[in-house]
Symmetry: C3
Subunit: 150 residues, 3 copies
């Protein structure tokens, strides 16, 4: 059984990269607003009116940023919980910090190749796949460690 | 380095407002069902059949509630993790509880002006912006505190 | 006031079912890809090109899996935080582990009846309702326990 200590390097790594990923998600929120304003395309009547734009739900640039955002929601909150639970399985500090770093790097690159500078595959596939693999690995280690509680 | 204690007023404030925000999100789920049933507009064939309604994906009232819900997903889980991590940076109890209260109040007002009683801007902008600013502030403090672990 | 100990059966139950639910969500991600590839229907131009398919946003099978996924996002992250906070209210190990088990079972069944083998109502309604009721119950207990911090 392991105690979570704030002085532990793996715990500090989890904390700082969790916050970095939150900030990255907020950047996508602001990017959505930027693209909406620059293309004058909005989801709500009152927003369109105040910005002298129009209501439109199929603008390709806006929808692309929104898909990147939704993909964040499908992966980052899972990291927040699985990363914390994974720390309770007693991983080596080196492995844990490497996984957290790779996860954060992958998701930042994912946002760039998806929503900022669209690149051909397999750029987005890799930037999606590495963090997904890390989430699955951590989930597997947690289930393995606590399997007797199932 | 700070220990998280359940008796700490800031920790208790985080816990109770995190639960309040969860309940608020569930209220939006029920609001979606209410609007769907009252307008007889559904996303699934079997739901439409059992309620003698139809399948429709562009009903403006339903979509408005769904946008409010998605906006919750983009902001509230981030609060759950950033709020907890922020507590480990040793904020004053007064500042922390004030931020948690303002965040919860902002998101509740956001739901009301977005999905219940549409109000002209800047009502929704403010109700969105204040919690977003709090999330960013907490994320910044966490990264600043643990920057050596990057 | 209660201390969270990793040796506590209710805590271990929370940990293992939280990981199970994360893995279940990832399964829906892979199911989306599987349905997209088998129907050759994609959201991005570059994906359609590399798989010799087309861009389409209203394929009924793909959208059904995506709705199941979004429904996960509306319920599972809330469980992750409310379940953890509920543990601090000192529930009996039997009640807590039963709620966690039922929540996980309900969400797994929900995915199956929504996205794998569409079943007539009330199958999906029950598989949605039981976990929702558990989330609300846990949220209520947390707010009740920490009401003085509101």
């Amino acid at each position: 059984m392991v105690t979570i200590l704030l002085g532990d390097p793996a715990v500090q790594s989890y904390i700082v990269y969790s916050a970095v990923l939150g900030m990255k998600m907020f950047a996508v929120t602001f990017l959505t607003t930027k693209v909406r304003v620059s293309k004058k395309v909005f989801a709500n009547e009152e927003d369109a009116k105040s910005a002298k734009g129009k209501v439109k739900f199929d603008d390709q640039d806006v929808e692309r940023v929104r898909r990147a955002h939704l993909n964040d929601l499908e992966n980052i909150p899972a990291f927040w919980v699985l990363g914390a639970l994974y720390l309770t399985t007693g991983p080596s500090a080196f492995l844990a910090t490497t996984l957290f770093r790779l996860f954060a790097a992958g998701r930042i690159i994912h946002t760039i190749v998806y929503a900022v500078t669209p690149l051909p595959q397999p750029a987005r596939g890799l930037a999606f796949g590495v963090p997904m693999f890390i989430n699955i690995y951590m989930g597997f280690k947690v289930i393995q460690t606590y399997a007797s509680a199932l």
